[in-house]
Amino acid sequence: MSGMVEKRGRGYWFTHAGLILGVLVIFFPIYLAFVASTVTQPEIVRPPMPLIPGGHFYENYREALVSGINAPVARMLFNSSIMALGIALGKIVISILSAFAIVYFRFPLRKTFFWMIFLTLMLPVEVRIVPTYEVAANFGLLNSYPGLILPLIASATATFLFRQFFLTVPDELAEAARVDGAGPMRFFADILLPMSRTNIAALFVILFIYGWNQYLWPLLITTDPQMNTIVMGIKQMFPSGDDIANWPVIMATAILAMLPPVAVVIFMQKLFIKGLIETEK
């Protein structure tokens, strides 16, 4: 298609130039962080720091992963993985079950439960932070994986996504299952679950990123450095006084912190876009 709108000319090259400029500006902070993670501390504290990568990649990353500053970064990566996977899987499991109940059954208080879940859309954790912390503390959930995961897994968004999807599933399928004498859980496991595969995958991508990038909640709930997640642990690596931060190790940690979610976006781009657009509907 080469209509008169898309002619090649000066405008065409300006368009490319503008986009490349945009990409470079957006990339620059990450490039600089990478450079900083491959040079030595003296090179950084005598500004300007070099703008091309140095030869200390291995040492800096090894130092970060093995010893870190308060806790080994490998440990924080592990904690983050548990948290992100727990939040993503937990949300998917409890949401798909409750959506199944709400769509495929008629029972007392159904509408009440529906609105109860719906209302949680209005309560981000940042808003109810102090009382939620107290509840978690009373349950003895400080410095524990359930404490990192549970308060964040109730999600109206995922429930709605599954509800919308189930409503589009033809009634004939449930009818056929009933005629064949299959119970509701059989219908759920053999028909509904396989049909929801793409939705589950798309949701998983979005929820994994959401879980991995949590900051405020892990900051409150983990006081033991061994339980820190990597995203909140970076800030803890800065010295509190007037000392100079260990920038090469901190920047190596920053690169490691963004690697898993960025890899998910790049390698599962189609699912990511699907998930992003559907969860915002």
Binding site: V23, M49, A101, F113, V127, R178, V265
Partner: protein
């Protein structure tokens, strides 16, 4: 919309709902109720007892110049983040949409900063503008401009705005590009045949057709700036200098956890609940309208 074919029984569905309802009750409704309850009390100085003050905490807050300043800070901050991230994303999306080939490549290159956590974005920008070692602040110094966001309120605000907008550009770009690609090319070609040049076509046809996307993005970016930028502010400025970057969510945290003023923090939570409620209603009204299109 309801299913015509359903299964019988009430025990199984209640069992299926139980996990979500339990989590919601423990970690959403109970804390929200606690926030409302605590907001009506003031603990004594030893934290042993608290006495009922009715709306005293709210009255105090609304008369408190720091709290009022925090409202203003939040308004400035979220408007700037929304304008910067929506504006730049629109500009990039319009350019990517002009290309017949290659827009998918630029999309891949532009969307992934979305995955970088706000707190990590904060560290990256802090590094570039650090007053001792920052590359950009050093070059600014060479050019004769003395950058110091630790002391200068406007520079601190500028820095947290840029760091908060950065990853958001990806998100907005994705929605704008999808919106642009949904506009029928025939409409644009018709205008081109009538002699309308690019910017004329943009303002008279493309931008109005894009308005549902733009409106949606304005609302979600305001919500983002209000509630999800805590990490950026905590890593770069910790609310300073002189509370110049203390947005409402940050103040709930600093009064509740750092200052240990639970009554005031709870009252602030309640006020924020009302703000979220209003924003959610706006968002839903918009969704309803879009469904009727």
């Amino acid at each position: 919309m309801e299913k015509l074919v359903t299964f019988k029984g009430w025990k199984l569905p209640l069992l299926l709902l139980a996990p979500q309802v339990l989590v919601t009750a423990c970690f959403f409704f109970w804390p929200a109720w606690q926030a409302v309850y605590q907001s009506l009390f003031i603990p004594d100085p030893f934290g042993l007892r608290s006495h009922f003050v009715g709306l005293g905490n709210f009255e105090f807050l609304l008369g408190d110049p720091f709290y009022r300043a925090s409202f203003w800070t939040t308004a400035v901050f979220s408007s700037l983040v929304t304008l910067v991230s929506v504006g730049l994303a629109l500009w990039l999306a319009v350019m990517a949409d002009r290309l017949i080939k290659g827009s998918a490549t630029y999309r891949t290159l532009l969307i992934w900063p979305y995955a970088v956590a706000p707190a990590v974005a904060g560290v990256l920008w802090l590094f570039m503008f650090n007053t001792r070692v920052g590359v950009i602040s050093w070059y600014l110094g060479q050019a004769g401009y003395d950058w110091n966001h630790v002391l200068n309120s406007n520079e601190a605000m500028g820095l947290v705005v840029i760091a908060s907008s950065w990853g958001r550009i990806s998100y907005n770009f994705l929605f704008f590009l999808a919106g642009l690609q949904a506009i029928p090319k025939s409409v644009i070609e018709a205008a081109a045949i009538d002699g309308a040049h690019f910017w004329k076509r943009f303002w008279t046809i493309v931008f109005p057709l894009l308005s549902p996307t733009t409106f949606f993005l304005l609302v979600v970016n305001i919500v983002y700036a209000f509630f999800e930028t805590f990490g950026v502010i905590h890593t770069i400025t910790t609310g300073g200098p002189q509370q110049a970057t203390t947005i409402l969510v940050y103040k709930v945290y600093s009064d509740g956890f750092v200052g240990q003023d639970l009554g005031s923090s709870a009252a602030q939570s309640v006020i924020l609940l009302v703000v979220v409620g209003i924003l959610t209603i706006i968002q839903f009204r918009y969704i309803e309208r879009r469904v009727h299109y």
